[in-house]
Symmetry: none
Subunit: 211 residues, 4 copies
DNA sequence: AATGAATGAGCCTTCATTCAT
DNA sequence: GATGAATGAAGGCTCATTCAT
């Protein structure tokens, strides 16, 4: 319990505001001044606490990410001993939950980063996505069985993940029907659709047909 | 019919350079100076020809867009009388070809635009995506059969398109195995995977199971 | 004859003001704002014309230097065929004239540079001093004769040059008596004093005595 | 008599670090942060102990000054009864020793101060230089004899002192040959060179020639 | 006595845009 | 039609200093 400022509170306040603004407007379009005004600190505060705008950017992202991770565990609440299909469903659900979380800032930031790459987050983001990726990979491999090549596994993983990361609020169009659905319904569709797809790949492998 | 240098050539040169730079670095990260240096024109040329940076942005995109459409027909060269599976394959191939066309960065721009909406391109982008969308929709509807609801159709369409629009050069990750594959191979995978997925949906509909 | 601005005039105006201010207050203590206010140009003008403050600094110095060089030729007006003593006198006079020139800015800048080294001028200044140095060296070598080692030459050169570069306006003291003298009188003293010094070195060398 | 950490130790640590940094980089180029980091004290310590950066500057100098005087007596260890030539040699040696003392950067600071007068040190520097000056003056007067005018004395004194205070590590040049020599060798050269110079002045005075 | 947090003033630089030719 | 010069607004960052503990 703290009665006075100890720097940590100010730091957190800046981070909070910054991650919101970065998500809303991107790195380049967010200024020190905006952040500091909203955080009710001096313009120099960013430099004092984070040394550079870039550092603030990286830390803001990490904060947003770890918060989101706490909220939505990667396995979607499914036991690691469950059947592969159920585990896949859990993972897909978890990704969708994160993406659609109204407090979510990190996917917005990733989007912005993709648009106006600063290079600052490159490495950090990579580390974030990787676990999700390998998790799905291992399940795909299990379902596909021993005959599957690395390429087969990667293609299926890509098919699954890209469905999850589908852009919402599509420009110029309206996915209205889908956007109105529950996360659970969408997750169920993606899971079924994908398992059928993977099984198809497996069958073709077993029957010796080329892909 | 031109009598002399009538500004059209300069205009085109600027557009060419601009569309490349906007695609590579995003709107905000591209400066007048960079564009004009590469286009070998004066700094004032952009404002002379386009009034504002935003206008240049919009026009650069439109140019890239129309050029691309000419190059890759939406049906991928498959006859409208062919089997649905073949037509789907043609469409997927066409999308992938457009996306990966080295001469054309239009989908990079769409990515940027999505993340950093300036509102400038919204309408134009809509016109680009919409035909692709309805094309795939109709095929999905045909395969799914009469029992399929609008929602079923949309979900499958989404599953297909998102696989095609998967972000390449993902930040911080490497889809290396896939990125080295031929377009044709990837298109084949997505087609098979998706048809299996759609068929699964159809079977569940026919057996009366809920989604 | 130019009726309108062609950029060169503005450039020169900035350089003029800048070299004065740099001389008066040093690099770090001179701001864009001061320079631009006095030069009656926009704050961005420095960046437009010189790209960086550092470049302006370097160019200001070069301008001041070349102006000073035009005014006071290095040989002090003495023919290269004259006797070594006379030529030395000419050089010493030339250095003193430059240093005491009321329009002189370069020695002030060198002083400032020595105090708050920016590293920007290091190389440039080196090139400036070198000719003066080698000029004096060659005369010293001629007077000393063949027996003189490199060290002997350098020591004498140092003795001569340091007298010329003696700091004026000494802090905390007043060289008042000397400061009131004519340049010519001081130059005569340094020349006589130095030639006697060099001759002493030569005699000791000839008599085989160690230094 | 100290009862506990009474601030004196911290003060001294700051002074030590500060005098080094000021000497190395000049007043303006040295920041609170650098000093405090190296002195392992808090950022606020400087203002707590010295009120202002300027005060620290002045005190740092004074400390360096008093330490240096203790170490190298002004007469260079030569008896006041020795021959003038020997006494001059002692003084020159003493000056060179002080200047080159690796523990003490005071002459570096004088250089900076001269170039960038803050006015802070003026008086103190005066007190440092003045005794050296009068010492050399009196010897010069003795060697020159009764006919010498004040101007003659001052000119010779200037010639001697300027050789000693020659700027080392000249910007952009390399006095390499000299800088590698022993202090003793350089002192011997300056002494011989100067005595020959002074004797020349005396002879010209005696022979009635104008300067 | 000593500290870490916080501040405000100011600096260099960038950039889209306008102006005069 | 085209240009180089010039501008103003703003942005990121530095730094000596002050404040509350």
């Amino acid at each position: 319990m703290r009665f006075r400022k100890d720097g940590e509170e100010t730091r957190q306040r800046i981070l909070k505001v910054a991650s919101r603004l970065f998500a809303e407007k991107g790195y380049r379009n967010t200024t020190h001044e905006q952040i500091c005004r909203l955080a009710k600190v001096n313009t120099a505060a960013i430099n004092y606490h984070f040394r550079k705008k870039e550092t603030l950017y990286a830390e803001a992202w990490q904060m947003a990410f770890s918060e989101l991770l706490k909220k939505h565990p990667a396995d979607g609440g499914v036991s690691p001993d469950a059947k592969p299909e159920e585990r896949l469903h859990g993972m897909i659900l978890s990704i969708l939950r994160r993406i659609t979380d109204p407090d979510n800032k990190i996917f917005e930031i990733i989007n912005k980063e993709h648009a106006n790459p600063t290079g600052i987050l490159t490495e950090t983001i990579g580390k974030t996505i990787m676990p999700i990726r390998t998790g799905i990979e291992s399940i795909v491999r299990k379902i596909l069985g021993g005959k599957a090549s690395e390429q087969d596994v990667q293609l299926c993983r890509m098919s699954i993940m890209s469905q999850c990361f589908r852009r919402r609020r599509r420009i110029g169009g309206h996915d209205s029907v889908i956007d109105k659905m529950d996360i659970e319904e969408i997750a169920a569709h993606i899971t079924h659709f994908s398992i059928d797809g993977i099984n198809g790949v497996r069958k073709r492998l077993e029957s010796g047909k080329s892909r």
